[in-house]
């Protein structure tokens, strides 16, 4: 059996006395595209941030290519992170830099590439997400939400990472632009042969970009399986979620006392 690209073993994380992750176990095989679904506050973002090293789990271990990464030093972390690409929910483009420099950022800063050469690659990546070269000279604030997402995607794939993370890639976009982004994600991940881990609550997006789906509920993975099996999961929480029903075992905690 091959080493999983990403492996989470019994990961716990809480803030104050609020438990967010309550023993998450998860494996993502090389080349697989896994989507984690779950309601707001179910711990999806925290899971992602723990893998990226932006948060440190309270207990448990996370492995990337078999290497444990919880508690490693800054230099090791940078080496691991160089395998990663990340598309943030709000794109998180650097608004002090023009679009092309945003895309080329990982190449110039991370890989110390020459600026002219990095710009050439940046424009190639922009073309790959359907943006013309002159968009490269604009500033992030001048772009629409959908275009910012595309630039964010171009930035995530610019360093040709082995693993790409997508945080709610379609949230805040109209359905057509959402589907365009989904198509681009599928295309980019396939072309790079990368492993993808996404979090979303948009089922249309989840079905399109994944080959496996895991559902996170109350800090635990309650179901994981192939995308085409999700309709016959036999798990009432999953059924309620994918059909978007207000009634069911998942009770939204509207008010905590």
């Amino acid at each position: 059996m091959t080493t999983p690209k990403i492996k989470l073993k019994d990961v716990h994380k809480g803030f104050g006395d609020k438990v967010v992750l309550d023993g998450v176990d998860l494996e993502v095989a090389p080349g697989e595209s896994l989507v984690i679904i779950g309601g707001s506050g179910s711990g999806k973002s925290v899971t992602l941030k723990c893998i990226l090293g932006l948060l440190t789990p309270d207990s448990g271990q996370i492995e990337v290519d078999g290497e444990p990464i919880v508690g490693i030093g800054r230099a090791e972390r940078e080496r691991i992170n160089s395998k990663f690409g990340m598309l943030f929910q709000g794109a998180a483009l650097f608004d002090s830099l023009p679009v092309w420099e945003n895309v080329a950022f990982g190449l110039i800063q991370g890989e110390r590439m020459d600026r002219a050469q990095a710009k050439e690659i940046a424009l190639e990546k922009l073309a790959a997400v359907g943006l013309e070269a002159d968009v490269g000279e604009l500033w992030p604030a001048e772009l629409s939400g959908g275009m910012q997402k595309r630039v964010g995607l171009a930035r995530a794939i610019a360093t040709e990472p082995e693993i790409i993370f997508f945080d709610e890639p379609t949230t805040g976009l109209d359905p057509i632009m959402g589907d365009i982004i989904n198509d681009l994600i599928v295309k980019c991940v396939r072309e790079l042969g990368a492993t993808a881990l996404s979090i979303t609550h948009d089922m249309a997006s989840a079905r399109k970009i994944s080959d496996h789906i895991a559902m996170l509920y109350k800090g635990k993975i309650i179901w994981i399986g192939k995308t085409e099996e999700i309709d016959s999961s036999g798990e009432p929480h999953v059924d309620q979620f994918i059909h978007g029903r207000a009634e069911g075992p998942i009770q939204m905690e509207l008010r905590r006392l």
Partner: protein, 257 residues
């Protein structure tokens, strides 16, 4: 409820904040002295702090010097010591008013801008994005700002000293009818190296304080627009208070030394 509980909570909160700031300061300083350095970003910050603050600092010290000249005349003419004006202005500006006023003005201009910029970067996940692109935010964002503050404020204050003394000269010569040559020669006669030097040491410390508080509050801001607003206020208020406290401490050190 236990009446000591709020007291204990306040003490613990204060200790926690102090520890956090101390840790942040240590991290910031250690990244200021270790490569890689981002010269392009450092240059941009130096221009922003040094060059673009010049009009504000120049105006402040000019009018402070003029007012100081008038006030000294109002006071010292009561016991016929008018010829001390040049000396009082020169010492007052270089030792005290130049660095303090420049520090406070830069706290308002630069400290606030830094807190707002880094705070916005924090809440829009741009700082997280830096991390995922294998770029250390302490090196990329914080070190250039602190080095620029530390080096540029003494230069600003040196120019401010000259303008402030010139302010006193204008009032004395054109309003109070002093002899220009005597005024200038008295200024140079009274000024010693330590007067200017102690003012420049203050300026360096204030530059460090302003940029550190701006970066600390911005980097740790949370909770959207309101959080960024609070970070900006905290940056300016804490920098201003620390400037006045350290001003006293440094003055005392130079007097006893």
């Amino acid at each position: 409820m236990n009446p000591f509980q709020p007291v204990g909570k306040a003490v613990l909160g204060f200790l926690e904040a102090t520890g956090k700031l101390a840790l942040f300061t240590f991290m910031a300083v250690s990244h200021c002295v270790r490569p890689p350095f981002y010269y392009r970003l450092l240059l941009r910050q130096m221009i922003d702090i040094g060059y673009y603050s010049l009009p504000v600092v120049g105006m402040t010290t000019l009018f402070a010097g003029m007012a100081l000249g008038l006030q000294t005349y109002a006071g010292f003419s009561r016991f016929s010591a008018e010829d001390a004006i040049a000396k009082v202005v020169a010492l007052g500006i270089t030792r005290e008013l130049g660095p303090v006023l420049a520090g406070l003005m830069v706290a308002g201009r630069i400290g606030a801008a830094m807190a707002a910029e880094l705070g916005t970067m924090r809440v829009t996940e741009q700082i997280d994005a830096l991390d995922t692109l294998s770029t250390n935010p302490f090196k990329y964002l914080i070190a250039p700002r602190i080095i620029a503050g530390l080096t540029m404020l003494p230069l600003l204050v040196f120019v401010g000293d000259i303008i402030g003394i010139f302010g006193g000269y204008i009032v004395s010569v054109y309003k109070l009818g002093f002899n220009p040559g005597v005024y200038i020669s008295q200024t140079f006669k009274v000024l010693e190296f330590i007067d200017v030097f102690s003012g420049l040491v203050k300026a360096g410390v204030f530059g460090f304080i302003v940029t550190l508080m701006g970066c600390y509050n911005g980097y740790n801001s949370q909770g959207g627009a309101q959080g960024v607003g609070a970070a900006t206020t905290n940056a300016v208020v804490s920098a201003s208070i620390l400037i006045l406290i350290f001003n006293y401490v440094i003055t005392e050190l130079f007097l006893t030394a």
